[in-house]
C-alpha cells in the first residue's frame, strides 16, 4: 500500500471534522474521496499533507510515517485555486517546479510539453490573472505535478470546467497514473469519479460510509436499476412484485427493484412472451449510490 490511513480522527474544540477514518491507496492507482461539502475531505487532505495534525490515528506512506515523506514527492491542487495572479504562466510553472527540487533545465521540456498539451502555448508569457477561469485551472493543475511527484492530491480538480477542458484534464490524470503516479482526488461530480477511479471512500460528516472497490460497492446493491419502455401505466408498474419505486424518464421508466432476483419474473410479466424494445438491468450509478448512502443516514 502506498498510503494508509488508520483510525484517523481530527477533533476541534466543539466538533469532530474527521472521525475514525481508515482507507488505503495502492501505488499507481487513482483513488476517489467523495462527500458533500463539509464532509471532511479537505481536512483529510490537509492531514495527509501534514498541514494539520491528526488528533488520533496514523497516516503512513510506504509503511513509514507521512511526516518522513520528502515534500518534493508530493503534489497538491487545493480546492480553491492557488496561483500568483501577477506572475506569468511560464514563470509560475518554473517557480513551483524549482520549489519542489527540480532545476530549470529539468523542467523546460515538461513545461513545454504540458503547455502545448493544454493548449496554453500562446499564454505562456501572460499574467495568470488575465487568463480565463478554465485556463487558470489548467495552469494550476500543471503546477501541481510539473515536478513529477510520486503522490498527487487533487481537491475538486474539475469544478468549474467546461466538458472539453474536463476531458483534457481527465485524460492527463489517467496518463499520469499510467506513468506510475499515485493519485488521490475528491469531487462532487460522481460521473468523474466513476470514470477515473477504481477504488473510493465515501465520507459523511467526517465518517466513512464505504471504503474500497467501486465495483464491489455496486455489487453490494446489485443490478436493481431496470430501464424499460412499456405501455403499462405507473400504477400498474407500481403493483408489480419486487418494484420498489417507479421513476419516469424521457424515454420510458426506470424501476428500482428490491433485489436483482426479481428480474426474470418481471421480464416475463412485462414482455408477455412478445418482442420488447427496451429491458435493461444495470447497477446503480455512483451518483445514485451516493444519494442512497448519504440520504439513508440523513437525520
Amino acid at each position: 500500500m502506498a498510503l494508509t490511513l488508520q483510525n484517523v480522527t481530527k477533533k476541534y474544540k466543539d466538533f469532530t471534522a474527521v472521525d475514525n477514518l481508515s482507507f488505503s491507496i495502492q501505488a499507481g492507482e487513482i483513488f476517489g474521496l467523495i462527500g458533500q461539502n463539509g464532509a471532511g475531505k479537505t481536512t483529510t487532505f490537509r492531514m495527509i499533507l501534514n498541514l494539520q495534525q491528526t488528533t488520533d490515528g496514523t497516516i503512513q506512506w510506504n509503511d513509514q510515517s507521512i511526516d518522513a515523506l520528502n515534500r518534493d514527492l508530493l503534489g497538491y491542487l487545493p480546492e480553491e485555486r492557488g496561483i500568483y495572479p501577477k506572475m506569468k504562466v511560464e514563470e509560475q510553472l518554473y517557480f513551483f517546479g524549482e520549489l519542489r527540487g527540480k532545476t530549470k533545465k529539468q523542467l523546460k521540456p515538461k513545461v513545454d510539453y504540458w503547455l502545448e498539451r493544454f493548449d496554453l502555448l500562446e499564454k505562456r508569457k501572460a499574467k495568470a490573472e488575465t487568463l480565463s477561469k478554465g485556463n487558470q485551472q489548467k495552469v494550476q493543475l500543471i503546477a501541481s505535478f510539473i515536478h513529477e511527484p510520486d503522490f498527487l492530491i487533487l481537491d475538486e480538480p474539475f469544478s468549474g470546467l467546461d466538458p472539453v477542458n474536463r476531458d483534457l484534464l481527465m485524460s492527463a490524470i489517467m496518463d499520469l497514473r499510467d506513468e506510475g503516479m499515485t493519485i488521490l482526488f475528491s469531487s462532487h461530480q460522481m460521473d468523474n469519479v466513476e470514470e477515473l477511479c477504481d477504488r473510493l471512500c465515501i465520507l459523511k460528516k467526517g465518517q466513512s460510509l464505504f471504503s474500497g472497490d467501486l465495483q464491489q460497492l455496486k455489487e453490494q446493491y446489485g443490478k436493481i436499476n431496470l430501464r424499460v419502455r412499456t405501455a403499462k401505466t405507473i400504477p400498474e408498474l407500481q403493483q408489480l412484485e419486487g418494484v420498489e419505486k417507479v421513476i419516469v424518464t424521457k424515454d420510458g421508466y426506470t424501476l428500482r427493484l428490491q433485489d436483482e432476483s426479481f428480474g426474470p419474473a418481471l421480464f416475463e410479466t412485462l414482455s408477455s412472451g412478445a418482442y420488447m424494445e427496451k429491458f435493461s438491468m444495470d447497477y446503480l450509478s455512483l451518483d445514485e449510490i451516493f444519494k442512497l448512502k448519504v440520504g439513508a443516514t440523513h437525520e
Partner: protein, 408 residues
C-alpha cells in the same frame, strides 16, 4: 536550490520590480534632491522681486544701520514726504521708511503702495527694532562701543553634571533633536511602508490560496522567514539607494551644504549611529514580523489595510510623542515610551542625543526591544502554521479566536 532562498529571491525580485516600489523610490529621490537644493530653488523663484526701500532718516544718526545690499536694498534718501509718495506710487521704490525722533525714542513709519511680503516685513521689523535700541542707547550718551557691548552681552551657562557621563552642550542637544527627528520620521515612514507591505503580501497569498500550495512544499517557518527577510531586504535596498543618491548629490554640490552636514554629523559620536542603526533594524523587524502575523490572520487582501491598522496607530503614537518630545525630551512620557519596544526606536535616539541619558539606558531599551522581537517572532512562527490556513470572518480578535479554536 534551497527553498527558503528560492522563496526569498522570488519575493524580493517581485517587490523591487513592482511599479509601486519604483514610483515610490523615484518620489523619495525627488524629495531628497529638492530638499538639498531648496535654497537654490527658492532663490531662483525670488530673484526677480528685488525690494527697494528708501530710508529717510531725519535723526541723521541711524541711517547707516540699514544695509544697501541685503535681501532688501535700503537706499538712503533726502526726499520729502510728497516726493517719497510720488516715487513709491510710480514704483521707483517699493516703500519709504521715515525715521524720526520722538521724545528721545526712534519713531518709524513705513509707506508702501502694496504691503510687503511677510518675510520682508519681519526682517524689516527686526532691523528697526535693533536700530531703535541702538538709538536709545546713543541718546543716553554712551559711546558706541559701550552701546555695542550692552547689545551683545550674553552669558553662556557652563553646565556641571555630577553624573560620571559627560554632559552635552546645548548646541549638541539642539543638533540631537534635529537629527533624531529626521531619524524618527524615516523610521515612521519605512516601518509603515514595509509593515503594511508584508501584511498585504501575505494576505494576498492567503486570499489567492497560493499559500496553501506553498505550505504543502515548504515549512511555515521557512515561508515566514523568507517573507520577513525579503521585505527587510527590499527596505534596505531602498534606504541604501536613497543614502547613495543623497551622498552623491551632497558631494556634487559641495561647498557650504557639505560643510554644514559634516559639521552636524561630527557632533555625534560613532556609537550614536551604531545605536540608531540597531534601533532602526530591530524596530523594522519587530513591525514587519507583526505585520506578517496580522496578514496571516485575514482571509483576503481587502482586509489587509484594516489588519495593519494597529501597527499604524502604534507608530503614530511613537511619532507624535517624538514631535512632542522635541521641545522637551526630558518629560516622563518620552522617558517611559523610550523603553516601550514599539516606540523606543523613535524615541531613544532622541533621548540619547538630546538629553544626558547614560549609555546603560540605551542598552536596556535595546535589550527590551530585542527580547520583545524574539518573543513576537517565536509566537508568530508557532501561530503562523495555523493561521495561514484558517479562513474566517469578523474582526481581528474574532479571527484570532477562530485560529485558536479550529487549529488546536
Amino acid at each position: 536550490m534551497n527553498k527558503t532562498w528560492l522563496l526569498l529571491k522570488q519575493n524580493y525580485l517581485q517587490k523591487v520590480q513592482a511599479k509601486s516600489f519604483i514610483a515610490m523610490t523615484i518620489l523619495y529621490i525627488a524629495i531628497i534632491l529638492v530638499a538639498l537644493n531648496w535654497s537654490s530653488i527658492t532663490s531662483f523663484f525670488s530673484s526677480d522681486d528685488d525690494v527697494r526701500i528708501a530710508v529717510i532718516d531725519e535723526t541723521k544718526v541711524v541711517g547707516d544701520s540699514f544695509p544697501m545690499d541685503g535681501e532688501i536694498s535700503y537706499m538712503p534718501s533726502l526726499m520729502s514726504e510728497a516726493e517719497a509718495k510720488k516715487n513709491v506710487k510710480s514704483g521707483a521704490y517699493d516703500g519709504a521708511l521715515f525715521l524720526k525722533d520722538h521724545n528721545g525714542k526712534l519713531q518709524a513709519t513705513l509707506m508702501t503702495e502694496e504691503p510687503l511680503s511677510l518675510n520682508h516685513q519681519q526682517s524689516l521689523e527686526a532691523l528697526v527694532d535693533s536700530t531703535s535700541k541702538v538709538y536709545r542707547i546713543q541718546q543716553l550718551n554712551l559711546s558706541s562701543k559701550e552701546a555695542e557691548s550692552i547689545l551683545t552681552a550674553s552669558t553662556p551657562i557652563k553646565e556641571v553634571s555630577l553624573q560620571a557621563t559627560s554632559s552635552k552642550t546645548t548646541e549638541d542637544k539642539m543638533a540631537g533633536v534635529g537629527i533624531s527627528y529626521a531619524i524618527g520620521f524615516l523610521i515612521y515612514l519605512f516601518v509603515i511602508t514595509y509593515a503594511s507591505m508584508i501584511t498585504t503580501d501575505i494576505a494576498s497569498e492567503k486570499g489567492s490560496r497560493v499559500l496553501e500550495v506553498l505550505m504543502a512544499s515548504v515549512r511555515p517557518n521557512q515561508h515566514l522567514f523568507a517573507k520577513i527577510v525579503s521585505v527587510i531586504l527590499v527596505g534596505c535596498t531602498q534606504i541604501i539607494l536613497l543614502i547613495a543618491v543623497a551622498y552623491v548629490a551632497i558631494n556634487m554640490k559641495g561647498g557650504e551644504l557639505q560643510a554644514t552636514i559634516q559639521d552636524i554629523l561630527s557632533a555625534f559620536s560613532p556609537s550614536y549611529f551604531w545605536f540608531v542603526g540597531a534601533f532602526v533594524i530591530l524596530t523594522l523587524l519587530l513591525y514587519v514580523t507583526l505585520g506578517a502575523f496580522l496578514g496571516s490572520l485575514v482571509s483576503k487582501v481587502e482586509e489587509a489595510g484594516q489588519a495593519a491598522m494597529p501597527l499604524t496607530f502604534m507608530m503614530m503614537a511613537g511619532f507624535f510623542t517624538l514631535i512632542y518630545g522635541m521641545t522637551n525630551p526630558d518629560t516622563a512620557l518620552v522617558k517611559v515610551l523610550s523603553y516601550v519596544p514599539f516606540t523606543s526606536g523613535m524615541l531613544m535616539p532622541l533621548r540619547y542625543s538630546a538629553t544626558d541619558l547614560s549609555v546603560s539606558g540605551v542598552w536596556i531599551s535595546l535589550a527590551i526591544l530585542l527580547v520583545t522581537l524574539l518573543i513576537v517572532f517565536y509566537a508568530t512562527v508557532s501561530m503562523y502554521r495555523r493561521s495561514v490556513l484558517t479562513y474566517s470572518t469578523g474582526g481581528l480578535i474574532e479571527k484570532f479566536k477562530n485560529v485558536m479554536k479550529f487549529t488546536t
